[in-house]
């Protein structure tokens, strides 16, 4: 067991399944014997706003919110949202990001601009970026909502919890009829992470 607290920030847009992802990660860490806290703000999230979830685990966790600039792992289900949260990451932190591009209507007026290539911008700032075409792969697997478990699969390769633990938690927490497909997405994520590491 690690002595330090591990800080994971999961971000996305309302409806992308940020909260399920952070729930699975937290439960897995808890099953592994860690103290865990997670924090997010509900309320306006359903209406297309930014959704942010903080997960912290370690021998003893105090604040449920990650201290600014102290994130070890940033998971983003949307390209530009990874960029929005990037300053929360430690210099040597890791980003797992979906290439999903959700351009909000507010950019139609011309006053605001959606960056042309957020992933390239991320790479300029951070050494460890794993970008996955999670949207496309999820749809190939049968459901665009699998982006979250796919990315969890990716980052699971950087965490110490074994596969059996993840699977046990998913079987408990995911609705029965979606378990298999989510496990498949998770496995696919692990596979892609291995490839990205090569």
């Amino acid at each position: 067991m690690k002595k330090n607290t591990t800080n994971v920030l999961i971000v996305g847009v309302g409806g992308q399944g940020v909260l399920l992802a952070s729930e699975l990660l937290s439960e897995t860490a808890m099953s592994a014997g860690y103290d865990v806290k997670k924090s997010e703000v509900h309320g306006m999230s359903q209406r297309g706003g930014v959704v942010t979830s903080h997960v912290k685990f370690g021998p003893k966790v105090f604040s449920p919110i990650i201290p600014y600039g102290q994130t070890d792992l940033l998971i983003s289900f949307e390209q530009a949202e990874a960029l929005r949260a990037v300053d929360w990451l430690k210099k040597d932190g890791l980003i797992a990001v979906s290439t999903t591009r959700l351009v909000p209507p507010i950019t139609a007026g011309g006053k605001f601009h959606y960056p042309d290539d957020p992933i390239a911008d991320l790479r300029k700032k951070v050494k460890n970026v794993i970008a996955i075409e999670a949207d496309k792969i999820a749809r190939e697997l049968g459901d665009s909502r699998l982006v979250n478990t796919l990315l969890l699969g990716v980052i699971s390769t950087r965490l110490e919890f074994n596969n059996t633990l993840w699977e046990k938690v998913m079987r408990q927490k995911v609705k029965a009829k979606f378990v298999d497909i989510n496990l498949k997405a998770f496995a696919k994520g692990r596979e892609l992470a291995a490839k990205a590491a090569e």
Binding site: G48, P104, I106, G109
Partner: protein, 592 residues
Amino acid sequence: MKKFLSGNEAVARGAYEAGVKLAVGYPGTPSTEILETVAEEYRSIYSQWSPNEKVAFEVGIGASLGGARALVTMKHVGLNVAADPFMTFAYTGVNGGFVVISADDPEMHSSQNEQDNRFFAKFAQIPFLEPSDSQEAKDFVLKAFEISEKFDTPVMLRMTTRVSHSKGIVEENEPVVLPEGSFKRDMQKYVMIPSNAKKRHVVVTERLDKLREYSEKTELNKEENNGSKIGIITGGIAYQYVKEVIPDADYFKIGFGFPLPIDKIRKFVDAHQINLVIEELEPYYEEILKAAGIKVEGKKYFSRLGELSPYRVSLGMKEAGIINEAYSAEIEPEQLFPRPPILCPGCPHRGAFMALKKLGVAVTGDIGCYTLAVLPPLEIMDSCICMGASIGNAIGMEKVKGHKKGVVAVIGDSTFLHSGITGLLDAVYNRSNVTVVILDNRITAMTGGQQHPSTGYTLMGEPTKSVNFIELAKALGVESVREVDPYDYKKLLEVFKEEIEREGPSVVITNRPCVLMPKRIMDKPHRVILEDCNGCSACFRIGCPAILPSKELTKRNRPKAEIDPTLCTGCSLCAQVCQPEAIVLVEEPVVR
């Protein structure tokens, strides 16, 4: 057994373990999930949504008088609505234990103000408890019921957004077994005519002395000695943030926040060289301590605006000279476009606001999803004060002829039932010329989809009567009451125009359900024929998340429109405002 629970789920669990018989409230972020969890997981507790917090509080009082333990839940501003029974129940005291949850929202993640309800407990002279995480949330509920019965007082449990919505590990226990309680007639105690109330006020002050003694002894107020010369006095979520920043300081952690253990804190302060009070929002502890002549500092370094966080605590600590470096970014932040919340694709509220904008009237607003109409591109709401305010605001503005083109009040179904009915009665009674639009999407959408008196179901899922808005408005004396389909833009314009011009109050009810709840509505989507789109941006101006700027530009370099078929619900409002008729139905099946 250990479970991973949010603060709200932990409160529900606490209620179950405390043997609560009745749980009641009105939804409001961040309190809503407490009753939802009770109704879902702990079916042995009778639970219900009331139309508003005042009624909820009174229902809770009734249960307490009947000898049962009662839990009442609401968000901070809900206690304003319930303030009347709250202040006087403090006089009568309880029979069965009574705990009211006040879930405050520092930072206003989802609220119209960030009032600090710790003052409310002090105002009513009742004790409050303040948990700092989920485990404490559960434990403190049990404690609160004990205190309530031991001291014959209602007790407030003060939650905040970060305690309510953060999750942590909670040890679950078996429920306590309580003797069956029952009503005991005691008119001098419960009937607050002045002669009785005068005697009860004496009891309240005596009770306060006993509570003060208790506060000095209880484990809810804890000292943590690490041999430091720095003493931190804190409570609630702030405790966790400070522990994150300087774990090795000495702590006086307040869990029982009124009355404060003044003697104990004085000793703690005397034993330390530097003493800081760190609390979210107002200098509540700080003022009480300073008034008692105890030398502490607090708001000098820590803002009273918004919520605290490890980062904000570290900034204050640095300023106070306790630490050398605050947390900071190792990677440059990026300036990005905002992503504000926005009315959903197909939201039935959209059409009404498009029409009101066109008519150029003043729109007094209210609270719910529809308040999002104030944001660009719709930008058509002129006031939003508190639930139910739209109608009174409209009446006043109309009486002084504040706007030439007329005044329209817009109010949601849940909000109308919460506190709009009396406003409408006022409009009739005082011969007002306002038009009231009830945006009836048949659910309390803003807070995640709760039942209310017109949805036909109770919190526990039982079918029930559903109030009919037309009949109700007519019964109040409104002569012109009309229903209109909010997906029919032309009709909306026509009906609104007629009703605004009409003498006397009128009511227009829009009658489409929420597209998300209770079930997702997805009809055939629309698409843009790019060759026909002239880039006029009329469809962008209705603020639908499914309509995006396309990469294709017009000759004058303006983006044409594009519709995301996975988001479009087929409401057709965009097609109705498209002059060149470039928006059409998609005929072939769509994979979403």
